[in-house]
């Protein structure tokens, strides 16, 4: 019974995170996957179950690590940067950074390390260029607090704010090869004015 509850919980969380579906589509069955900032390991558990991947995760929160290990995923407690440094080159087929880039201290270094350790990097982030964010800023004159960025400025885990265009420019400047890009509005894909209408972006690099 406990197993059933756990599974329901994990699929419910997956539905709440539209980028997980895209990531699930990208990842080839049986590949080696490292999830940075994997939280409670919902995505990894799903990938193990449905794609038979070899899953590893890094997470800083002890409580999240505990739940991830209880779920059966090999997760270790640690900082993303130190975690990546230990891995040999191309140890993984995919290194995932889901909704965490905006929280990392040195995003460029993290991206470089992801591409060193993984054959591909999958990066998803909330789009700061979305119209709702622009409107919130324009009409309230305050740091935007929206569905995508639900925090007060003083308790937000986000320390960088980037739009889809910002990320594209960065990849061009640093030579990070973009293989595919996916833009999501709610649960749906969108390709029209992504930097204005896309809520979440998922980039496949490598």
């Amino acid at each position: 019974m406990a197993g059933t509850a756990e599974t329901l919980h994990s699929s419910a969380t997956l539905a709440a995170r539209p980028d997980f579906h895209v990531i699930g589509e990208i990842i080839q069955p049986g590949s080696r996957v490292l999830d940075l900032g994997c939280g409670e390991g919902e995505l990894l558990a799903w990938l193990v179950e449905n794609k038979g991947v070899l899953a590893r995760g890094v997470e800083i929160s002890s409580a999240d690590v505990r739940r991830a290990i209880a779920r059966g995923v090999s997760v270790y407690q640690g900082d993303i940067n130190e975690g990546l440094a230990d891995y040999p080159d191309k140890a993984f087929d995919y290194v995932i950074l889901s909704q965490t880039l905006q929280e990392t201290r040195s995003p460029v270094r993290v991206l470089q390390e992801m591409l060193r350790v993984g054959r591909h990097a999958i990066v998803s982030f909330p789009n700061f260029g979305h119209w709702s964010v622009r409107a919130a800023m324009l009409f309230t004159g305050q740091a935007p607090k929206t569905k995508l960025f639900p925090y007060n400025w003083y308790d937000s885990p986000n320390i960088h704010f980037l739009s889809i265009n910002d990320f594209e420019y960065l990849c061009r400047e640093k030579g990070f090869p973009i293989e595919r890009r996916y833009f999501l509005s709610g649960q749906h894909r969108t390709n029209i004015f992504p930097n204005l209408l896309g809520q979440t972006a998922v980039f496949l690099l490598g």
Binding site: S62, I69, V73, Q77, G78, D86, P88
Partner: protein, 370 residues
């Protein structure tokens, strides 16, 4: 669950130090049932002063096992699902051959003529026991402190034989601080005139020395915070200081009680030999190259440390995890928050239970699939 300690006997055991022990006896207990394909066996390795009685209620003494909160029906090591084995370590004094055992060559206790043993020797003997029980592969070897050292040694000595290991609150080599505390304990015993160079078996044992050694030990198993919470400066059955050297404080009373209690169940020479084995423990044999020791690891690891453990600090577990990661090994690691210090793996088990259960379950499932 009423349990009984059994005994297995072997003709001989060649030791790392060059000597051979003959014969060798091992005291062990088992809980749960071995399944048809013999794939559900878990070996529990005990800490410094532990014994084979890890779970259930002892038929002989009526006491619960030392890890009864972790082993049993529905617990972390679920005996409804797994077949759990625990044996008294080599050099011990609870049924397995140790310095207090009779040397067949002389008809008297070995005492200090007992050869110096190592953690690896303990593990070799456990392997012989597991073979005797007809098990071709262990699902898991798990233990805390010295038990964690044995779990690590299993992964290095018999990597094909263990699906996963769970080293808890432990280290891959004993540190200067750990050796230092052990040496204080040994010196306390050897300074006791009753020790008599170890030849006390037909006389009175070095109770004062052993009890002081245990008092020091107990301090290292707790934390500043847990001692403050448990004792503070509370006085023992008095309102004001006695202005003498009797017991004033609760903490003094506790340590004396623990020390005295220990004397009744533990052999001083076993203390010397087992702490020496701990101090010699270095998974790399002195090279410091942990990655060479692990080699190509297929064994899954769940490494657990506790935030307030200053005897086996978290960084020592993290060193293990880092090397396994570099080798691209399958390793899960959690630094569990606890105030209980080193003792946490024995007493603060709610969160430990959660992760051990999930980790074992996923290992058992993948073992089936493979």
């Amino acid at each position: 669950m009423i349990v009984e300690t059994r005994c297995a006997q072997f003709d001989s055991l060649a030791l790392e130090g060059g000597a051979t022990l003959s014969p060798v006896e091992v005291a062990y207990e088992t809980y749960g049932e071995l399944n048809a394909d013999r794939s559900n066996a878990i070996l529990i390795t005990h800490a410094f002063s532990g014994d084979a009685h890890a779970a259930g209620i002892s038929h002989e003494t009526g006491k619960p096992g030392w890890w009864d909160n972790m082993i049993g029906p529905g617990k972390a090591f679920d005996t409804d699902r797994y077949f759990v084995i625990c044996s008294n370590a080599l050099g011990g004094c609870q049924g397995t051959t140790g310095p207090g055992s009779i040397n067949p060559a002389t008809g008297a206790a070995y005492a200090m003529s007992f050869p110096v043993i190592t953690i690896r020797d303990m593990v070799h003997l456990q392997k012989m026991l597991v073979d005797r029980l007809g098990i071709q592969q262990l699902l898991c070897v798990a233990g805390g402190s010295m038990g964690g050292m044995q779990a690590l040694e299993w992964a290095v000595s018999y990597p094909e034989f263990v699906r996963c290991v769970i080293p808890i609150a432990t280290t891959w080599r004993h540190s200067a601080q750990q050796i230092a505390f052990n040496e204080v304990g040994r010196q306390a015993i050897m300074a006791d005139p009753d020790w008599c160079e170890g030849d006390y078996y037909d006389k009175k044992p070095p109770a004062r020395g052993l009890s002081v050694a245990r008092m020091v030990g107990h301090i290292t198993y707790m934390s500043d915070e847990s001692m403050r919470e448990k004792f503070g400066r509370k006085l023992r059955q008095k309102e004001k200081f006695g202005f003498d050297f009797g017991v004033d404080f609760e903490v003094e009373s506790y340590l004396r009680y623990r020390g005295n209690q220990f004397v009744s169940r533990f052999d001083a020479n076993s203390y010397l030999y087992i702490t020496k084995a701990e101090d010699y423990f270095d998974l790399t044999n002195g090279t410091g190259k942990l990655s060479d020791a692990f080699g190509r690891v297929d064994t899954r690891f769940l490494v657990i440390s506790f935030t307030s453990d200053w005897l086996y600090p978290s960084y020592q577990s993290q060193e293990i995890v880092r090397v396994l990661r570099r080798l691209n090994g399958d390793v899960a690691y959690c630094d569990l928050p606890s105030n209980y210090g080193h003792d946490a793996f024995l007493v603060d088990v709610a969160e430990q239970t959660e992760i051990v259960r999930g980790f074992l379950d996923s290992t058992a499932r993948t073992a089936k699939a493979a």
